[in-house]
């Protein structure tokens, strides 16, 4: 019998290589730098380039797990509240006499627990959408933060704590180093491991994954836990940078984080995306706001721009994915 051979070489397509969303992001990133350097003659030097990220990197730790969440086809709008709650508990614990390292550990534990609670609710109550689950826990977590600290601020952290948000190692900000490490780890996790493969699979076709023996609940739980943990890191860095905390910190972080992920080319329909896109998007939005600051444009304009970016990139991605999906009539 004539055996039909299956090729094992990938057909390289120049067009597909060029038509990647990430190139566009890179281009925008470059353009922002060009514009910024026109705005300020002092802009173009290594120091600005390496120090500016410290102003916006705290929330970028959330972008990484949020990328997982959105590839899974879910959404998590409770992350801002999780940051607030864990930060408030850490500060309160420290002020009540707990040693700072322990308080920091507590911060991570609280945040991870918040994530775990989200995950358990979604697994146990499959009928509920991620939107409604995280909407309610968002209110609860923030509510608990208010119960603990009311409208006071808490701080007076030891001096060394400010190193997290302000310190540098060999001239490179500690936060940037940590972020790069996290981004690489998340990238490997998503693109090189079975765990990442499962995330993509569930985002594409959850049922097919269940029938193929993928424990979808376990994956969902782990992603929720990771999201919580990273919210804890965000809380640490944010609190360190601010020096004190209040129940209303990190308000609206969920929007910025989701906007960065979507701008990074991750489809809100789930199943598609790369880690590099959202990482580029972090720096685009970060340097953009820095540039706006240079010309004294208010924070409100940034609100508008982020909102618009979120909407417009979703629309473009929608159209792009629709074009890629060829119309296919299925026989019934």
């Amino acid at each position: 019998m004539a055996q039909r051979e299956l090729l094992i070489e990938r057909q390289r397509s120049m067009k597909r290589f060029i038509m990647q969303w990430e190139w566009l992001l890179l281009l925008i990133f470059m353009m922002i730098h060009v514009v910024n350097s026109f705005l300020s003659p002092y802009y173009l030097n290594f120091n600005t380039f390496i120090r500016t990220p410290m102003t916006f990197l705290d929330k970028s730790f959330l972008v990484l797990p949020m990328t997982f969440v959105i590839i899974l086809g879910n959404i998590d709008i409770s992350v801002g509240s999780t940051v607030a709650l864990s930060s408030v508990i850490m500060a309160t614990a420290y002020n009540a006499g707990v040693a700072m390292p322990l308080a920091m550990l507590l911060c991570l534990v609280v945040a991870t627990t918040c994530g775990l609670i989200n995950g358990v609710l979604m697994v146990k109550f499959k009928e509920l959408s991620a939107v409604i689950v995280t909407l309610s826990t968002m209110t609860i977590y923030r509510g608990v933060a208010y119960v603990i600290l009311e409208d006071r601020a808490a701080g007076n952290f030891p001096n060394w704590f400010s190193f997290l948000g302000w310190g540098s190692i060999a001239g490179i900000p500690f936060m940037l180093i940590m972020f790069v490490i996290c981004a690489v780890l998340f990238g490997i996790l998503l693109h090189k491991t079975t765990f990442g493969r499962k995330i993509f699979g569930i985002g594409n076709n959850k049922n097919a994954c269940i029938y193929s023996g993928i424990e979808t609940n376990r994956v969902l739980l782990w992603v929720s836990i990771l999201t919580g943990l990273m919210a804890g890191f965000t809380a640490l860095f944010l609190t360190s940078r601010m020096g004190s905390t209040r129940p209303n910190v990190a308000q609206g972080y969920e929007l910025e984080v989701i906007a960065m992920v979507v701008l990074g080319g991750v489809s809100t329909a789930g199943g598609k995306g790369k880690i590099i896109g959202p990482v580029l998007a972090i720096f685009i939005i970060g340097f953009l706001s820095y540039g706006l600051g240079l010309v004294n444009i208010s924070a409100q304009v940034l609100l508008i721009i982020i909102g618009m970016l979120l909407i417009i990139s979703t629309m473009i991605l929608n159209i792009r994915f629709k074009r890629m999906k060829k119309p296919r009539v299925l026989q019934s």
């Binding site: 968002m138 209110t139 609860i140 979507v262 609100l303 909102g307 629309m315």
Partner: protein, 332 residues
């Protein structure tokens, strides 16, 4: 056999509203024991006044939820339309209050129109579209006001009387809420377009096949939501006699909570005006009574969150029990 089934259906269909009513009565009695001023005429009126803006918005949100959407931007729309009408009144004090109301409603409809365009036409996920618009509209509110407040002394007396005046011995806000409830009750239950909202939410694919103008219905629902939010913005500013950039931040949560309490399904297709009224009243009681029984205001958000989550979870569990009973009835 037939009557038996009818009985069962009666139980499950009306369980929610009956249960909610009982819960409200029980709660009122309990609060009355703790604080005898609760069930006085003046307090009940305050309660209703406070609940009226919420319930006006809840009517719009109900329709949005029925067509499987969600609108997180209404807090911003309230601020925006309130700010614009307040600024107009501040510059032209002789304007008739009805014009202000109309102006606010139109501004809100405009926002709703944009959201509807994104959701219905460009198929952007409602949560993404409204999260984005929430920021954009909030940003514009700050921009047009240049960060300033419009305070009581800048507003004309007729404008402030929108919220404090009386018609037929009832507070105007309550009257407006009653009128809106009646109008939408008629619209939703007794017009073809109204029923098509349910059809689209209940089975979007079937709606499309049977020729219901799905896109137009969804679009209309968001416009109506925007219009109601715009109206609410004017009422809000008039009631609190102040318009600020951060008016009604996070108010969308309260509205969604009232809907969820009123038994409107987040997954679309079902929900009744009668349930909605009970949900809004219950929410009003929670807000009104907690200070009366000496619960710290900082507990409010947390309690609200817990109430939303419990309502959603109870819904799921009732549904599961119903399904299990249906299976048990099946003869094999």
């Amino acid at each position: 056999m037939v009557s038996d089934r009818k009985n069962l259906r009666f139980k499950t269909e009306n369980f929610r509203e009956l249960g909610l009513l009982l819960f409200i009565i029980l709660l009122s009695v309990l609060i009355q024991f703790r604080n005898p001023t609760f069930l006085t005429f003046s307090n009940i009126e305050t309660l209703l006044i406070n609940a009226s803006i919420l319930s006006i918005l809840a009517v719009g949100m109900m329709m949005v939820l029925i067509v499987r959407g969600i609108d997180l931007s209404i807090g911003s729309t309230i601020a925006f339309s309130g700010m614009i009408s307040a600024m107009t009144v501040a510059s032209y004090p002789h304007i008739h209050p009805l014009i202000s109301i109309l102006q606010g409603t139109l501004v809100g409809s405009g926002v709703g129109f944009l959201i509807g365009l994104l959701v219905a036409k460009f198929k952007v996920l409602p949560i993404i579209a409204t999260l984005g618009m929430m920021n954009v509209v909030r940003g514009f509110t700050f921009l047009v006001s240049k960060g300033r407040w419009i305070s009581a002394y800048q507003m004309s007396i007729p404008f402030k009387e929108i919220a404090t005046g009386r018609i037929l011995g009832m507070n105007t806000l309550v009257v407006i809420a009653v009128v809106i409830y009646s109008a939408f009750y008629y619209f939703i239950n007794h017009t073809r377009t109204g029923r098509q909202i349910y059809a689209v939410g209940s089975n979007p694919d079937a709606a499309e096949v049977s020729g219901i103008p799905k896109i137009r219905i969804i679009w209309m629902v968001y416009i109506l939501m925007g219009a109601l939010a715009g109206l609410a913005g004017v009422l809000w500013v008039s009631r609190f006699a102040s318009a600020q950039g951060d008016t009604a931040v996070g108010y969308e949560m309260n509205v969604i909570a009232a809907c969820v309490l009123g038994g409107i399904s987040i997954s679309g297709g079902s929900g009744k005006v009668s349930g909605l009224i009970l949900g809004a009243v219950l929410f009003g009681i929670l807000n009104n009574a907690l200070p009366l029984i000496n619960v710290s205001p900082f507990w409010q958000q947390g309690i609200q969150g817990v109430v939303i989550l419990s309502a959603v979870l109870i819904n799921v569990m009732v549904k599961r029990t119903n399904e299990r009973q249906a299976l048990r009835r099946r003869i094999i």
